[in-house]
Amino acid sequence: MKMFLLQLRNELWKLFAKKRTYIGFVMFLVAQNAMLFGFHFSSGMKRSMTRMLAGNGYLAEDYVSALTVALIMLIPQILLLMPLYTGLIGGDLVAKEAEDGTLRMILCRPVSRWRLLFVKWCAGVVFAVTQVFALGVMALALARLWFPWKGMFVLIPEPENIFAVLSAAEGWKLYAASHIFLAINASTMMTLAFMFGCFNMKPAAATILAISFLLLNLVLESIPALAEYLPYMLLHHFRAWVAVYGQPMDWARVWSALSVLAAFNATCLVIGGTAFHLRDIKS
């Protein structure tokens, strides 16, 4: 166990000492500021939110808050930016080391390939979790600079179809809880790219394959004729993070998504690990 922790610490050193690891964090910061700027100075969003709340008998000024805006900002970032940055790191973890030649240096050591992969995967999960929580904290902190700390309004359209109006305390609790699910989603995206990186390919190819897989899911999911196949699509299960805001929460949906994501991660690890175990590592 001590060796495992030492090796994990070393992997984290390697990961967080690289500048490219921080690209995602910086881009989230830039995107959030750009969105906040838009929210603050354009009246469109406020107007539609006011209309929606008033139509349901709520006072808009109680719910146009830091929590509401932080959640609104999260959705496009999770959909568009998160796969890119987790995929980038997941694809790099093995493939970049193989490309640079450092993997050969490691594999002179009496460490099994499975163990090496597991250590790297754990480092990738730490990165994915860190990124999600940084994203959540940054979104909330920046939104708080421009918007008051009041109740939370959640509106997620079809297929989730969630309309929730929450107190600040309750909203904050659910906002934090939803990040646990987001962290699982981010880890799954990272694992997908990680799996491709275990094959003999360039790191960029692993990242692109992972993103392509997710985009293909998105495309298939948006085809109405394939609606009955939704449970077979990864993104459908990713969306369980918004189910947290459902009143009452759909636990069956959440547990089913978690089980599918756990199985998907395990499958990716087994496929990637087997490919990595079987391949020859040459200069």
């Binding site: 060796m3 030492l6 690289k18 450092t102 002179c108 009496p110 460490v111 099994s112 590592i281 200069s283």
Partner: protein
């Protein structure tokens, strides 16, 4: 004397191409063993199989008494390796790199890290990022990481690649020191025949994935010395010597290979008795380079008869007019 490396009928096929074919090799403890061969001869693949990085198609690779494929952990526990063009995490310090790599073998103390850093002469630069290191410093760092697990076997794959003459000299002295002072067994793969000649006690030559020679440096240099011969008519002279079974063959219009046990005095006598004018006759001292070149250019790769034997010196000219 126990063997630290034992390869038995080792074979590796990539697609349709056999990179290593039926390779048997034994490196006893305490030796500096040279692995020679041109690019693509199979040296790096062989080393990859010794280190469990390349899976053999068939055969067995045993290192430190353990099968690398099945008992990788035990086989490599006390093995250090350096590859051509040492690669590190450039954005980390030398010290951190050593820590990262060493802890894939066993926990390593700060004192041991600093001891090895001092041993390779990097003290004072260990906290600098590797991207600021020269090629020579990277090679020293590579040596340091190889020494950290307290190895009994060092595998060096072209360690002098890219070094300047001073660096090559330093590397040679270090290898000798490691063998002499620490008693390490060293497998040294190189293109630099001069280095191999100066360092190694025994060598194996690979060509096209097959071993075409294994023996001591002395064996290599002793095999069938050539005699430089300058006479008034080389072709007629050599034809006569072949007929009288005094030479095996002639080479390059200027050299002959005397038959077994025949001295230069007998050649001169035979030539003078037959009215040839002998201007010069001198045994040519065999160099490893000449031996190596004759091996890799002088015989078909697939000729199994050449394995473990000295190369037949078949010249292009037989001396017949």
């Amino acid at each position: 004397m126990t063997a630290l490396i034992e390869l038995r009928s080792l074979r590796k096929v990539f697609g349709q191409r056999a990179a290593v074919e039926s390779l048997d090799l034994v490196v006893p403890r305490g030796e500096i063993f040279g692995l020679l061969g041109h690019n693509g001869a199979g040296k790096s693949t062989t080393i990859g199989m010794m280190l469990g990085q390349v899976w053999p198609t068939s055969g067995e690779a045993r290192v430190c008494g353990h099968d690398v494929t099945r008992e990788r952990g035990m086989a490599l526990a006390r093995v250090g390796a350096i590859f051509e063009t040492p690669v590190f995490y450039d954005y980390l310090s030398g010290y951190r790199n050593l820590e990262v790599l060493a802890q894939f073998s066993a926990p390593v103390s700060r004192a041991r890290l600093l001891e090895v850093v001092e041993w390779v002469g990097l003290t004072g630069r260990e906290k600098s990022k590797v991207k600021t290191y020269s090629h020579g410093m990277r090679t020293r760092l590579a040596l340091a990481q190889a020494l950290l697990p307290n190895p009994e076997l060092l595998i060096l794959d072209e360690p002098s690649d890219g070094l300047d003459p001073e660096g090559i000299h330093e590397m040679r002295a270090t290898i000798q020191r490691l063998n002499r002072d620490l008693g390490l067994t060293i497998l040294f793969s190189s293109h630099l025949l001069n280095e191999v000649e100066q360092l190694c006690t025994r060598i194996a030559v690979l060509q096209g994935g097959r071993k075409v020679f294994e023996g001591t440096i002395a064996d290599a240099k002793r095999t069938q010395p050539r005699v430089r011969l300058r006479v008034n008519n080389f072709d007629q002279a050599t034809r006569l010597l072949v007929e009288r079974k005094l030479i095996d063959s002639a080479q390059d219009g200027a050299f002959v290979i005397p038959a077994n046990g025949v001295g230069t005095d007998e050649l001169v006598r035979a030539l003078v008795e037959n009215k040839f004018s002998v201007f010069e006759i001198a045994p040519e001292e065999e160099t490893l380079e000449a031996f190596y070149l004759s091996l890799v250019h002088g015989a078909p790769v697939s000729d199994p008869a050449r394995t473990l034997t000295a190369p037949p010196r078949v010249g292009s000219e037989t001396g017949a007019p």
